[in-house]
Protein backbone atom coordinates (compact mmCIF):
# COMPACT_ATOMS: atom_id res chain seq x y z
CA UNK A 1 0.00 0.00 0.00
CA UNK A 2 1.19 3.49 -0.70
CA UNK A 3 0.88 5.46 2.49
CA UNK A 4 0.13 9.14 2.33
CA UNK A 5 0.09 9.90 6.03
CA UNK A 6 0.34 8.33 9.45
CA UNK A 7 -0.67 9.39 12.93
CA UNK A 8 0.02 8.40 16.49
CA UNK A 9 -0.87 5.29 18.43
CA UNK A 10 -2.26 5.27 21.95
CA UNK A 11 -3.04 1.66 22.94
CA UNK A 12 0.26 0.08 21.94
CA UNK A 13 3.66 0.90 23.34
CA UNK A 14 6.44 0.52 20.83
CA UNK A 15 9.49 -1.18 22.23
CA UNK A 16 12.88 -0.38 20.77
CA UNK A 17 14.73 -3.63 20.25
CA UNK A 18 18.41 -3.41 21.11
CA UNK A 19 21.01 -2.94 18.42
CA UNK A 20 24.17 -4.96 19.07
CA UNK A 21 27.45 -4.26 17.40
CA UNK A 22 27.94 -7.16 14.95
CA UNK A 23 31.05 -9.25 15.58
CA UNK A 24 31.98 -8.92 11.90
CA UNK A 25 32.93 -5.27 12.49
CA UNK A 26 35.75 -6.35 14.79
CA UNK A 27 37.00 -9.45 13.08
CA UNK A 28 36.75 -8.61 9.40
CA UNK A 29 40.23 -9.92 8.72
CA UNK A 30 39.69 -13.42 10.05
CA UNK A 31 37.61 -15.75 7.95
CA UNK A 32 34.04 -16.04 9.19
CA UNK A 33 31.82 -19.02 8.35
CA UNK A 34 29.34 -18.68 5.53
CA UNK A 35 25.81 -18.10 6.81
CA UNK A 36 23.41 -20.69 5.33
CA UNK A 37 20.57 -18.19 4.89
CA UNK A 38 20.49 -14.42 5.24
CA UNK A 39 16.95 -13.04 5.51
CA UNK A 40 16.40 -9.39 4.69
CA UNK A 41 13.46 -7.80 6.48
CA UNK A 42 11.93 -8.48 9.88
CA UNK A 43 8.24 -8.06 9.16
CA UNK A 44 5.88 -11.01 9.41
CA UNK A 45 7.46 -13.21 6.72
CA UNK A 46 11.18 -12.92 7.57
CA UNK A 47 10.98 -14.05 11.23
CA UNK A 48 8.49 -16.79 10.29
CA UNK A 49 10.97 -18.13 7.76
CA UNK A 50 13.82 -17.90 10.28
CA UNK A 51 11.86 -19.90 12.87
CA UNK A 52 10.84 -22.50 10.27
CA UNK A 53 14.44 -22.97 9.23
CA UNK A 54 15.60 -23.10 12.86
CA UNK A 55 13.16 -25.96 13.47
CA UNK A 56 15.01 -27.77 10.69
CA UNK A 57 18.39 -27.03 12.22
CA UNK A 58 19.34 -24.24 9.79
CA UNK A 59 20.98 -21.09 11.14
CA UNK A 60 19.89 -17.72 9.78
CA UNK A 61 20.83 -14.08 10.12
CA UNK A 62 17.83 -11.74 9.88
CA UNK A 63 18.67 -8.15 8.96
CA UNK A 64 16.32 -5.22 9.51
CA UNK A 65 17.09 -1.55 9.07
CA UNK A 66 14.65 -0.54 11.82
CA UNK A 67 14.48 -1.54 15.49
CA UNK A 68 10.79 -1.84 16.15
CA UNK A 69 7.61 -3.49 14.91
CA UNK A 70 5.20 -2.35 12.20
CA UNK A 71 3.99 1.21 12.61
CA UNK A 72 0.20 1.02 12.56
CA UNK A 73 -2.03 -2.04 12.50
CA UNK A 74 -1.55 -2.83 8.77
CA UNK A 75 -2.24 -6.52 8.24
CA UNK A 76 -4.94 -7.37 10.78
CA UNK A 77 -6.77 -10.51 9.61
CA UNK A 78 -4.64 -13.52 10.47
CA UNK A 79 -6.05 -16.56 8.69
CA UNK A 80 -6.36 -20.09 10.00
CA UNK A 81 -3.58 -21.33 7.75
CA UNK A 82 -1.15 -18.72 9.12
CA UNK A 83 -2.15 -19.53 12.70
CA UNK A 84 -1.47 -23.21 12.05
CA UNK A 85 2.03 -22.29 10.86
CA UNK A 86 2.74 -20.01 13.85
CA UNK A 87 1.39 -22.70 16.16
CA UNK A 88 4.46 -24.78 15.33
CA UNK A 89 6.53 -22.11 17.12
CA UNK A 90 4.15 -22.05 20.10
CA UNK A 91 2.86 -18.50 19.56
CA UNK A 92 -0.53 -19.00 17.87
CA UNK A 93 -2.55 -19.59 21.01
CA UNK A 94 -1.25 -16.33 22.39
CA UNK A 95 -2.44 -14.62 19.20
CA UNK A 96 -5.89 -16.18 19.53
CA UNK A 97 -6.10 -15.07 23.15
CA UNK A 98 -5.04 -11.53 22.39
CA UNK A 99 -6.96 -11.15 19.14
CA UNK A 100 -10.60 -11.18 18.14
CA UNK A 101 -11.93 -14.43 16.74
CA UNK A 102 -14.48 -13.97 13.99
CA UNK A 103 -16.06 -16.18 11.41
CA UNK A 104 -19.13 -14.18 10.45
CA UNK A 105 -19.44 -11.17 8.26
CA UNK A 106 -22.36 -8.96 7.31
CA UNK A 107 -22.94 -6.83 4.25
CA UNK A 108 -25.20 -3.77 4.32
CA UNK A 109 -26.81 -1.80 1.53
CA UNK A 110 -27.58 1.75 2.68
CA UNK A 111 -28.89 1.18 6.22
CA UNK A 112 -30.10 -2.41 5.87
CA UNK A 113 -28.30 -5.75 6.25
CA UNK A 114 -28.65 -7.78 3.04
CA UNK A 115 -26.33 -10.69 3.50
CA UNK A 116 -24.49 -12.63 6.22
CA UNK A 117 -21.70 -15.07 5.62
CA UNK A 118 -19.79 -17.63 7.64
CA UNK A 119 -16.16 -18.19 6.74
CA UNK A 120 -15.81 -21.48 8.56
CA UNK A 121 -18.06 -23.92 6.71
CA UNK A 122 -16.29 -26.79 8.47
CA UNK A 123 -16.07 -25.96 12.17
CA UNK A 124 -14.33 -28.17 14.70
CA UNK A 125 -10.79 -27.29 13.75
CA UNK A 126 -8.07 -26.20 16.16
CA UNK A 127 -8.06 -22.64 14.80
CA UNK A 128 -10.87 -20.35 13.66
CA UNK A 129 -11.14 -18.97 10.12
CA UNK A 130 -9.69 -15.63 11.23
CA UNK A 131 -8.27 -13.89 14.22
CA UNK A 132 -8.01 -10.13 13.99
CA UNK A 133 -4.74 -9.04 15.50
CA UNK A 134 -2.72 -6.00 14.59
CA UNK A 135 0.50 -6.67 12.71
CA UNK A 136 2.59 -5.09 15.50
CA UNK A 137 1.45 -7.80 17.93
CA UNK A 138 2.20 -10.58 15.45
CA UNK A 139 5.67 -9.14 14.89
CA UNK A 140 6.24 -8.66 18.62
CA UNK A 141 5.47 -12.33 19.33
CA UNK A 142 7.63 -13.44 16.40
CA UNK A 143 10.55 -11.23 17.50
CA UNK A 144 10.34 -12.53 21.05
CA UNK A 145 10.43 -16.10 19.79
CA UNK A 146 13.34 -15.33 17.43
CA UNK A 147 15.37 -13.65 20.19
CA UNK A 148 15.00 -16.83 22.29
CA UNK A 149 16.07 -19.08 19.41
CA UNK A 150 19.84 -19.75 19.25
CA UNK A 151 19.77 -20.52 15.52
CA UNK A 152 18.18 -17.15 14.66
CA UNK A 153 20.45 -14.11 14.74
CA UNK A 154 18.03 -11.18 14.53
CA UNK A 155 19.91 -7.93 13.94
CA UNK A 156 18.17 -4.57 14.27
CA UNK A 157 19.47 -1.39 12.59
CA UNK A 158 21.39 -3.54 10.13
CA UNK A 159 20.59 -2.16 6.70
CA UNK A 160 21.44 -4.06 3.54
CA UNK A 161 23.16 -1.71 1.11
CA UNK A 162 24.66 -4.14 -1.38
CA UNK A 163 23.88 -7.59 -2.75
CA UNK A 164 26.10 -9.56 -5.13
CA UNK A 165 24.80 -12.95 -6.21
CA UNK A 166 27.11 -15.62 -7.62
CA UNK A 167 26.48 -19.22 -8.69
CA UNK A 168 27.55 -20.52 -5.30
CA UNK A 169 26.43 -17.82 -2.88
CA UNK A 170 25.66 -14.22 -2.08
CA UNK A 171 27.79 -11.42 -0.68
CA UNK A 172 25.78 -8.99 1.40
CA UNK A 173 26.98 -5.52 2.32
CA UNK A 174 25.44 -4.28 5.59
CA UNK A 175 25.43 -0.83 7.14
CA UNK A 176 25.12 -0.31 10.90
CA UNK A 177 25.43 2.70 13.24
CA UNK A 178 29.03 1.51 13.80
CA UNK A 179 29.99 1.12 10.16
CA UNK A 180 29.79 -1.39 7.34
CA UNK A 181 30.52 -5.10 7.18
CA UNK A 182 30.17 -7.96 4.76
CA UNK A 183 28.34 -11.26 5.13
CA UNK A 184 28.82 -14.32 2.97
CA UNK A 185 25.69 -16.44 2.60
CA UNK A 186 24.65 -19.54 0.70
CA UNK A 187 21.23 -18.04 0.06
CA UNK A 188 19.54 -14.70 0.58
CA UNK A 189 15.78 -14.41 1.02
CA UNK A 190 14.35 -10.93 0.49
CA UNK A 191 11.30 -10.42 2.73
CA UNK A 192 11.81 -6.68 2.62
CA UNK A 193 8.37 -5.53 1.62
CA UNK A 194 6.64 -3.95 -1.33
CA UNK A 195 9.40 -1.40 -1.93
CA UNK A 196 12.05 -4.15 -1.57
CA UNK A 197 15.48 -2.50 -1.54
CA UNK A 198 17.00 -5.85 -2.59
CA UNK A 199 14.79 -5.94 -5.69
CA UNK A 200 15.90 -2.41 -6.52
CA UNK A 201 19.58 -3.23 -5.96
CA UNK A 202 19.27 -6.08 -8.45
CA UNK A 203 17.38 -3.82 -10.86
CA UNK A 204 14.46 -6.22 -11.20
CA UNK A 205 11.12 -5.01 -12.59
CA UNK A 206 7.85 -5.26 -10.66
CA UNK A 207 5.10 -5.33 -13.28
CA UNK A 208 1.43 -4.97 -12.43
CA UNK A 209 -1.63 -2.82 -12.26
CA UNK A 210 -2.02 0.46 -10.39
CA UNK A 211 -5.39 1.31 -8.86
CA UNK A 212 -6.25 4.96 -8.34
CA UNK A 213 -9.05 4.72 -5.82
CA UNK A 214 -8.12 6.17 -2.46
CA UNK A 215 -9.11 4.71 0.90
CA UNK A 216 -8.89 6.19 4.36
CA UNK A 217 -8.06 3.93 7.30
CA UNK A 218 -9.01 5.22 10.72
CA UNK A 219 -8.03 2.95 13.57
CA UNK A 220 -9.85 4.16 16.63
CA UNK A 221 -10.43 2.99 20.18
CA UNK A 222 -14.16 3.14 20.62
CA UNK A 223 -15.23 3.58 24.22
CA UNK A 224 -18.48 1.62 23.92
CA UNK A 225 -19.76 -1.75 22.76
CA UNK A 226 -18.09 -3.18 19.66
CA UNK A 227 -19.29 -5.56 16.96
CA UNK A 228 -17.42 -8.85 16.76
CA UNK A 229 -17.88 -9.46 13.04
CA UNK A 230 -16.69 -7.95 9.82
CA UNK A 231 -19.14 -5.39 8.45
CA UNK A 232 -19.19 -3.95 4.98
CA UNK A 233 -21.51 -1.18 3.82
CA UNK A 234 -22.32 -0.10 0.32
CA UNK A 235 -23.67 3.47 0.29
CA UNK A 236 -24.25 3.78 4.06
CA UNK A 237 -26.11 6.87 5.33
CA UNK A 238 -22.87 8.00 7.01
CA UNK A 239 -20.88 7.82 3.77
CA UNK A 240 -23.56 7.80 1.06
CA UNK A 241 -21.45 7.87 -2.09
CA UNK A 242 -19.04 5.03 -1.33
CA UNK A 243 -18.34 1.95 0.80
CA UNK A 244 -17.11 1.43 4.35
CA UNK A 245 -15.47 -1.60 5.96
CA UNK A 246 -15.38 -2.15 9.70
CA UNK A 247 -13.16 -4.61 11.56
CA UNK A 248 -12.63 -5.09 15.26
CA UNK A 249 -9.09 -5.65 16.53
CA UNK A 250 -7.42 -6.34 19.87
CA UNK A 251 -7.46 -3.68 22.64
CA UNK A 252 -10.97 -2.49 21.64
CA UNK A 253 -9.54 -0.97 18.48
CA UNK A 254 -11.78 -0.66 15.44
CA UNK A 255 -10.54 -0.32 11.91
CA UNK A 256 -12.81 1.82 9.81
CA UNK A 257 -11.88 1.85 6.15
CA UNK A 258 -13.62 4.55 4.07
CA UNK A 259 -13.55 4.42 0.31
CA UNK A 260 -12.82 7.99 -0.78
CA UNK A 261 -12.78 7.70 -4.56
CA UNK A 262 -10.20 8.82 -7.07
CA UNK A 263 -10.43 12.56 -6.75
CA UNK A 264 -10.39 12.97 -2.98
CA UNK A 265 -7.76 15.25 -1.45
CA UNK A 266 -5.75 12.90 0.79
CA UNK A 267 -4.14 15.71 2.82
CA UNK A 268 -7.54 17.18 3.56
CA UNK A 269 -9.24 13.83 4.29
CA UNK A 270 -6.76 12.68 6.89
CA UNK A 271 -7.05 15.84 9.01
CA UNK A 272 -8.44 14.74 12.34
CA UNK A 273 -11.44 17.10 12.20
CA UNK A 274 -12.49 15.54 8.89
CA UNK A 275 -11.97 11.99 10.12
CA UNK A 276 -13.94 12.87 13.26
CA UNK A 277 -16.79 14.30 11.19
CA UNK A 278 -17.11 10.99 9.30
CA UNK A 279 -16.89 8.93 12.47
CA UNK A 280 -19.46 11.14 14.19
CA UNK A 281 -21.93 10.46 11.37
CA UNK A 282 -21.17 6.76 11.64
CA UNK A 283 -21.32 6.20 15.40
CA UNK A 284 -23.79 8.87 16.47
CA UNK A 285 -23.71 11.87 18.82
CA UNK A 286 -22.96 9.93 22.02
CA UNK A 287 -19.99 7.85 20.89
CA UNK A 288 -16.51 8.57 22.26
CA UNK A 289 -13.27 7.42 20.70
CA UNK A 290 -9.54 7.95 20.62
CA UNK A 291 -7.46 7.95 17.47
CA UNK A 292 -4.86 5.21 17.05
CA UNK A 293 -3.61 5.50 13.52
CA UNK A 294 -4.79 7.25 10.37
CA UNK A 295 -3.62 6.53 6.88
CA UNK A 296 -4.75 7.26 3.34
CA UNK A 297 -3.79 4.58 0.86
CA UNK A 298 -4.05 3.49 -2.73
CA UNK A 299 -2.83 0.12 -3.88
CA UNK A 300 -1.34 -1.90 -6.68
CA UNK A 301 -1.42 -5.52 -7.78
CA UNK A 302 2.05 -6.62 -8.88
CA UNK A 303 4.03 -9.81 -9.26
CA UNK A 304 7.66 -10.46 -10.17
CA UNK A 305 8.30 -12.57 -13.28
CA UNK A 306 10.43 -14.91 -11.19
CA UNK A 307 10.80 -15.23 -7.43
CA UNK A 308 14.25 -16.85 -7.81
CA UNK A 309 17.25 -14.94 -9.10
CA UNK A 310 20.30 -17.12 -8.70
CA UNK A 311 20.92 -17.37 -4.98
CA UNK A 312 18.47 -14.56 -4.17
CA UNK A 313 14.87 -15.52 -3.41
CA UNK A 314 11.94 -13.13 -3.05
CA UNK A 315 8.96 -13.70 -0.74
CA UNK A 316 5.90 -11.83 0.50
CA UNK A 317 5.18 -8.26 -0.59
CA UNK A 318 8.65 -8.04 -2.14
CA UNK A 319 7.57 -10.67 -4.71
CA UNK A 320 3.86 -9.98 -5.12
CA UNK A 321 1.35 -7.50 -3.79
CA UNK A 322 -2.44 -7.35 -3.84
CA UNK A 323 -5.19 -5.02 -2.68
CA UNK A 324 -6.12 -5.36 0.99
CA UNK A 325 -9.58 -6.79 0.23
CA UNK A 326 -9.49 -10.44 1.22
CA UNK A 327 -6.56 -10.45 3.67
CA UNK A 328 -4.26 -11.97 1.11
CA UNK A 329 -1.10 -9.91 1.66
CA UNK A 330 0.17 -11.00 5.07
CA UNK A 331 -1.35 -14.46 4.82
CA UNK A 332 0.09 -14.95 1.33
CA UNK A 333 3.53 -13.97 2.62
CA UNK A 334 3.34 -16.51 5.45
CA UNK A 335 2.30 -19.21 2.98
CA UNK A 336 5.28 -18.26 0.77
CA UNK A 337 7.87 -18.79 3.46
CA UNK A 338 6.21 -21.98 4.65
CA UNK A 339 6.44 -23.34 1.11
CA UNK A 340 10.08 -22.24 0.91
CA UNK A 341 11.47 -23.31 4.30
CA UNK A 342 11.38 -27.08 3.93
CA UNK A 343 12.65 -26.97 0.36
CA UNK A 344 15.54 -24.68 1.25
CA UNK A 345 16.41 -26.92 4.21
CA UNK A 346 16.48 -30.04 2.00
CA UNK A 347 18.68 -28.28 -0.56
CA UNK A 348 21.07 -26.99 2.11
CA UNK A 349 21.50 -30.41 3.68
CA UNK A 350 22.07 -31.99 0.27
CA UNK A 351 18.90 -34.11 0.30
CA UNK A 352 17.37 -32.42 -2.73
CA UNK A 353 18.73 -30.78 -5.87
CA UNK A 354 18.75 -26.97 -6.00
CA UNK A 355 16.12 -27.00 -8.73
CA UNK A 356 13.57 -28.11 -6.10
CA UNK A 357 13.40 -24.37 -5.46
CA UNK A 358 11.95 -23.88 -8.95
CA UNK A 359 8.77 -25.38 -7.51
CA UNK A 360 8.72 -22.60 -4.90
CA UNK A 361 8.63 -20.15 -7.78
CA UNK A 362 5.97 -21.98 -9.80
CA UNK A 363 3.72 -22.93 -6.87
CA UNK A 364 3.78 -19.54 -5.23
CA UNK A 365 3.39 -17.69 -8.52
CA UNK A 366 0.27 -19.78 -9.13
CA UNK A 367 -0.91 -18.82 -5.64
CA UNK A 368 -0.15 -15.14 -6.32
CA UNK A 369 -2.07 -15.23 -9.56
CA UNK A 370 -5.06 -16.66 -7.72
CA UNK A 371 -4.72 -14.01 -5.00
CA UNK A 372 -4.37 -11.19 -7.52
CA UNK A 373 -7.35 -12.45 -9.52
CA UNK A 374 -9.53 -12.62 -6.41
CA UNK A 375 -8.31 -9.34 -5.10
CA UNK A 376 -8.78 -7.56 -8.44
CA UNK A 377 -12.32 -8.90 -8.76
CA UNK A 378 -13.14 -7.67 -5.26
CA UNK A 379 -11.65 -4.30 -6.09
CA UNK A 380 -13.61 -4.08 -9.32
CA UNK A 381 -16.81 -4.86 -7.45
CA UNK A 382 -16.12 -2.36 -4.66
CA UNK A 383 -14.85 0.35 -7.02
CA UNK A 384 -16.54 -0.20 -10.42
CA UNK A 385 -14.40 1.11 -13.24
CA UNK A 386 -17.05 2.19 -15.75
CA UNK A 387 -20.74 3.04 -15.80
CA UNK A 388 -22.03 -0.38 -16.86
CA UNK A 389 -19.88 -2.06 -14.21
CA UNK A 390 -21.50 0.15 -11.61
CA UNK A 391 -24.97 -0.65 -13.01
CA UNK A 392 -24.36 -4.40 -12.62
CA UNK A 393 -22.83 -3.93 -9.17
CA UNK A 394 -25.81 -1.90 -7.98
CA UNK A 395 -28.25 -4.34 -9.60
CA UNK A 396 -26.60 -7.19 -7.68
CA UNK A 397 -26.87 -5.30 -4.40
CA UNK A 398 -30.48 -4.43 -4.91
CA UNK A 399 -31.47 -7.99 -5.91
CA UNK A 400 -29.60 -9.53 -2.99
CA UNK A 401 -32.22 -9.03 -0.33
CA UNK A 402 -34.90 -11.03 -2.14
CA UNK A 403 -32.87 -13.31 -4.40
CA UNK A 404 -30.35 -15.59 -2.67
CA UNK A 405 -28.36 -16.15 -5.88
CA UNK A 406 -27.40 -12.48 -6.00
CA UNK A 407 -25.88 -12.65 -2.49
CA UNK A 408 -23.27 -15.00 -3.86
CA UNK A 409 -22.28 -12.38 -6.45
CA UNK A 410 -21.60 -9.68 -3.85
CA UNK A 411 -17.86 -9.41 -3.65
CA UNK A 412 -16.77 -7.30 -0.72
CA UNK A 413 -13.53 -9.29 -0.46
CA UNK A 414 -13.27 -13.05 -0.97
CA UNK A 415 -11.37 -13.85 2.18
CA UNK A 416 -8.09 -15.69 2.12
CA UNK A 417 -8.14 -19.47 2.14
CA UNK A 418 -5.05 -21.56 1.35
CA UNK A 419 -4.42 -21.29 -2.38
CA UNK A 420 -3.85 -24.39 -4.46
CA UNK A 421 -1.20 -25.27 -6.98
CA UNK A 422 -2.87 -27.89 -9.15
CA UNK A 423 -0.49 -29.47 -11.60
CA UNK A 424 2.73 -28.81 -9.66
CA UNK A 425 5.54 -31.08 -10.78
CA UNK A 426 5.94 -32.18 -7.15
CA UNK A 427 2.46 -33.65 -6.87
CA UNK A 428 1.46 -37.19 -7.81
CA UNK A 429 -1.92 -37.07 -9.58
CA UNK A 430 -4.74 -39.29 -8.33
CA UNK A 431 -4.83 -42.79 -9.82
CA UNK A 432 -7.78 -44.13 -7.84
CA UNK A 433 -10.98 -42.90 -9.43
CA UNK A 434 -13.51 -43.12 -6.63
CA UNK A 435 -12.69 -39.99 -4.61
CA UNK A 436 -15.82 -38.05 -3.71
CA UNK A 437 -14.13 -35.35 -1.65
CA UNK A 438 -11.09 -34.66 0.50
CA UNK A 439 -8.14 -32.39 -0.38
CA UNK A 440 -6.69 -33.27 -3.79
CA UNK A 441 -2.92 -33.21 -4.46
CA UNK A 442 -1.88 -29.55 -4.56
CA UNK A 443 -4.42 -28.46 -1.91
CA UNK A 444 -3.79 -27.75 1.77
CA UNK A 445 -4.63 -30.41 4.31
CA UNK A 446 -7.76 -29.83 6.39
CA UNK A 447 -7.71 -30.00 10.16
CA UNK A 448 -10.12 -32.21 12.10
CA UNK A 449 -10.51 -33.59 15.60
CA UNK A 450 -8.84 -36.99 15.91
CA UNK A 451 -9.31 -39.83 18.35
CA UNK A 452 -11.62 -39.57 21.32
CA UNK A 453 -12.92 -36.46 22.96
CA UNK A 454 -10.17 -34.10 24.01
CA UNK A 455 -7.50 -36.15 22.27
CA UNK A 456 -6.51 -33.34 20.01
CA UNK A 457 -6.29 -32.15 16.45
CA UNK A 458 -4.86 -33.54 13.30
CA UNK A 459 -2.56 -30.50 12.92
CA UNK A 460 -0.95 -31.41 16.27
CA UNK A 461 -0.13 -34.94 15.20
CA UNK A 462 1.84 -34.18 12.04
CA UNK A 463 5.49 -35.13 11.75
CA UNK A 464 8.32 -32.63 11.24
CA UNK A 465 8.84 -33.63 7.60
CA UNK A 466 6.53 -35.64 5.36
CA UNK A 467 3.61 -37.36 7.07
CA UNK A 468 1.71 -40.36 5.78
CA UNK A 469 -1.81 -40.05 7.16
CA UNK A 470 -3.43 -43.48 7.01
CA UNK A 471 -6.95 -44.36 8.09
CA UNK A 472 -6.83 -47.82 9.65
CA UNK A 473 -7.42 -49.86 12.78
CA UNK A 474 -5.59 -48.72 15.89
CA UNK A 475 -2.05 -50.09 15.94
CA UNK A 476 -1.67 -50.26 12.15
CA UNK A 477 1.92 -51.18 11.28
CA UNK A 478 3.56 -48.97 8.64
CA UNK A 479 5.75 -51.66 7.10
CA UNK A 480 8.65 -50.48 4.94
CA UNK A 481 7.67 -46.83 5.35
CA UNK A 482 10.30 -44.72 3.53
CA UNK A 483 12.88 -42.96 5.67
CA UNK A 484 11.98 -39.57 7.09
CA UNK A 485 8.26 -40.09 6.58
CA UNK A 486 6.23 -40.06 9.77
CA UNK A 487 3.38 -42.56 9.80
CA UNK A 488 0.19 -41.27 11.40
CA UNK A 489 -2.67 -43.72 11.87
CA UNK A 490 -6.17 -42.33 12.42
CA UNK A 491 -8.87 -44.75 13.54
CA UNK A 492 -12.59 -44.50 14.18
CA UNK A 493 -15.48 -42.80 12.49
CA UNK A 494 -14.76 -39.17 13.35
CA UNK A 495 -14.88 -36.03 11.29
CA UNK A 496 -11.37 -36.67 9.97
CA UNK A 497 -12.66 -39.69 8.14
CA UNK A 498 -15.39 -37.64 6.44
CA UNK A 499 -13.12 -34.74 5.57
CA UNK A 500 -10.65 -37.07 3.89
CA UNK A 501 -13.29 -39.29 2.25
CA UNK A 502 -11.51 -42.15 3.98
CA UNK A 503 -12.07 -45.89 3.76
CA UNK A 504 -9.90 -48.43 5.59
CA UNK A 505 -6.42 -48.08 4.10
CA UNK A 506 -6.90 -44.61 2.61
CA UNK A 507 -3.53 -42.83 2.83
CA UNK A 508 -2.57 -39.18 2.24
CA UNK A 509 1.04 -38.13 1.80
CA UNK A 510 1.30 -34.65 3.32
CA UNK A 511 4.27 -32.37 2.73
CA UNK A 512 6.08 -30.49 5.49
CA UNK A 513 4.07 -27.38 4.53
CA UNK A 514 0.87 -29.38 5.11
CA UNK A 515 -0.11 -29.63 1.45
CA UNK A 516 -1.25 -32.94 0.01
CA UNK A 517 1.39 -34.45 -2.31
CA UNK A 518 -0.42 -37.69 -3.17
CA UNK A 519 -3.22 -39.95 -1.95
CA UNK A 520 -4.24 -43.56 -2.41
CA UNK A 521 -6.99 -45.90 -1.41
CA UNK A 522 -4.54 -48.33 0.17
CA UNK A 523 -1.16 -48.24 1.87
CA UNK A 524 1.57 -49.03 -0.66
CA UNK A 525 5.11 -48.24 0.57
CA UNK A 526 6.57 -48.33 -2.96
CA UNK A 527 4.07 -45.73 -4.15
CA UNK A 528 4.79 -43.60 -1.07
CA UNK A 529 8.51 -43.80 -1.77
CA UNK A 530 8.04 -42.74 -5.40
CA UNK A 531 5.76 -39.85 -4.36
CA UNK A 532 8.24 -38.60 -1.74
CA UNK A 533 11.03 -38.69 -4.32
CA UNK A 534 8.89 -36.74 -6.73
CA UNK A 535 7.88 -34.21 -4.07
CA UNK A 536 11.53 -33.57 -3.16
CA UNK A 537 12.80 -33.16 -6.71
CA UNK A 538 14.47 -36.58 -6.60
CA UNK A 539 11.95 -38.32 -8.88
Amino acid sequence: MGRAGEGRLSSYTYRRYPYRRPAELDGQAERRPVVPVVIVGAGMAGPTLALSLAQRGIATVVLDEDDTVSLGSRSICQAKHSLEIWDRFGIAERMVEKGITWEQGEVYLRDKPIYRFNLQPEPEQKFPAFVNLQQYYVEEYLFERCLAEPLVDLRFRNKVVGVASRDDGVTVEVETPDGRYTLEADWLVACDGVRSPVRHMLGLPYPGEVFHDQFLIADIRLLSELPRERRFWFYPPFHPTNSVLLHRQADNVLRVDFQLGRDADAEEEKKSENVDRRLRQMFGPDARWEHEWTSVYTFTCRMMERFLHGRVIFAGDAAHVVSPFGARGGNGAIADVDNLAWKLALVLEGSAPANLLESYCSERRAASRENILNSTRSTDFITPKFAAARAFRDATLSLARDFPFARALINSGRLSVPTGHAGSALDTPDTDQDWRRGPTPGRAMVDAPVGGEGEGWLVDRMGPGFTLLTFAERGFAFERLPQRVTGLCVSGDGLARQRYDAQPGTSYLIRPDRYVAARWRRYDPAAVDAAVRRATGNG
Binding site: F392, D394, A395, A406, L409
Partner: protein, 79 residues
Protein backbone atom coordinates in the same frame (compact mmCIF):
# COMPACT_ATOMS: atom_id res chain seq x y z
CA UNK B 1 -24.35 -13.84 -38.48
CA UNK B 2 -20.81 -14.57 -39.52
CA UNK B 3 -19.55 -18.10 -39.90
CA UNK B 4 -16.46 -17.30 -37.87
CA UNK B 5 -17.10 -18.00 -34.23
CA UNK B 6 -14.96 -16.08 -31.73
CA UNK B 7 -12.06 -18.40 -31.01
CA UNK B 8 -12.23 -18.36 -27.21
CA UNK B 9 -15.89 -19.33 -27.11
CA UNK B 10 -17.11 -22.84 -27.78
CA UNK B 11 -20.25 -22.70 -29.86
CA UNK B 12 -23.15 -25.09 -29.57
CA UNK B 13 -24.31 -24.35 -26.03
CA UNK B 14 -26.53 -21.45 -27.06
CA UNK B 15 -29.85 -22.14 -28.68
CA UNK B 16 -30.15 -20.26 -31.97
CA UNK B 17 -33.60 -21.41 -33.06
CA UNK B 18 -36.92 -20.31 -31.58
CA UNK B 19 -37.59 -21.48 -28.03
CA UNK B 20 -40.66 -19.36 -27.27
CA UNK B 21 -44.21 -20.59 -27.71
CA UNK B 22 -45.54 -17.05 -28.09
CA UNK B 23 -42.63 -14.97 -29.41
CA UNK B 24 -44.65 -11.76 -29.94
CA UNK B 25 -45.90 -11.83 -26.38
CA UNK B 26 -42.43 -12.16 -24.88
CA UNK B 27 -40.85 -9.59 -27.17
CA UNK B 28 -43.52 -7.04 -26.43
CA UNK B 29 -43.35 -7.73 -22.71
CA UNK B 30 -39.64 -6.96 -22.71
CA UNK B 31 -40.06 -3.75 -24.66
CA UNK B 32 -43.10 -2.62 -22.64
CA UNK B 33 -41.20 -3.14 -19.39
CA UNK B 34 -38.77 -0.40 -20.46
CA UNK B 35 -41.46 2.09 -21.31
CA UNK B 36 -41.21 5.44 -19.50
CA UNK B 37 -37.73 4.68 -18.19
CA UNK B 38 -34.86 7.09 -18.70
CA UNK B 39 -31.72 5.74 -20.39
CA UNK B 40 -30.06 5.43 -17.02
CA UNK B 41 -33.04 3.58 -15.57
CA UNK B 42 -33.04 1.30 -18.63
CA UNK B 43 -29.44 0.38 -17.94
CA UNK B 44 -30.23 -0.38 -14.30
CA UNK B 45 -33.29 -2.36 -15.31
CA UNK B 46 -31.40 -4.37 -17.94
CA UNK B 47 -28.63 -5.18 -15.50
CA UNK B 48 -31.18 -6.67 -13.11
CA UNK B 49 -32.89 -8.56 -15.88
CA UNK B 50 -29.65 -9.99 -17.24
CA UNK B 51 -28.52 -11.18 -13.81
CA UNK B 52 -31.88 -12.81 -13.11
CA UNK B 53 -31.95 -14.56 -16.47
CA UNK B 54 -28.27 -15.58 -16.34
CA UNK B 55 -28.83 -17.29 -13.03
CA UNK B 56 -31.94 -18.97 -14.37
CA UNK B 57 -30.08 -20.24 -17.44
CA UNK B 58 -27.24 -21.52 -15.28
CA UNK B 59 -25.26 -22.88 -18.21
CA UNK B 60 -21.92 -21.06 -18.15
CA UNK B 61 -21.02 -22.06 -21.70
CA UNK B 62 -24.35 -20.75 -23.02
CA UNK B 63 -23.87 -17.47 -21.14
CA UNK B 64 -20.35 -16.98 -22.55
CA UNK B 65 -21.60 -17.78 -26.02
CA UNK B 66 -24.49 -15.34 -25.66
CA UNK B 67 -22.08 -12.61 -24.48
CA UNK B 68 -19.84 -13.20 -27.49
CA UNK B 69 -22.79 -13.32 -29.89
CA UNK B 70 -24.23 -10.07 -28.54
CA UNK B 71 -20.88 -8.32 -28.81
CA UNK B 72 -20.29 -9.62 -32.30
CA UNK B 73 -23.73 -8.56 -33.49
CA UNK B 74 -23.08 -5.09 -32.08
CA UNK B 75 -19.71 -4.80 -33.81
CA UNK B 76 -21.12 -5.90 -37.17
CA UNK B 77 -23.79 -3.24 -36.79
CA UNK B 78 -21.10 -0.64 -36.30
CA UNK B 79 -19.24 -1.39 -39.54
Amino acid sequence: MSDDAPSAVVTGALRRTLNLARPDEVYNAIVEAHKDLTDEQCRAFDARLILLLANHVGDEAAIHEALAAARQSLEEEGT
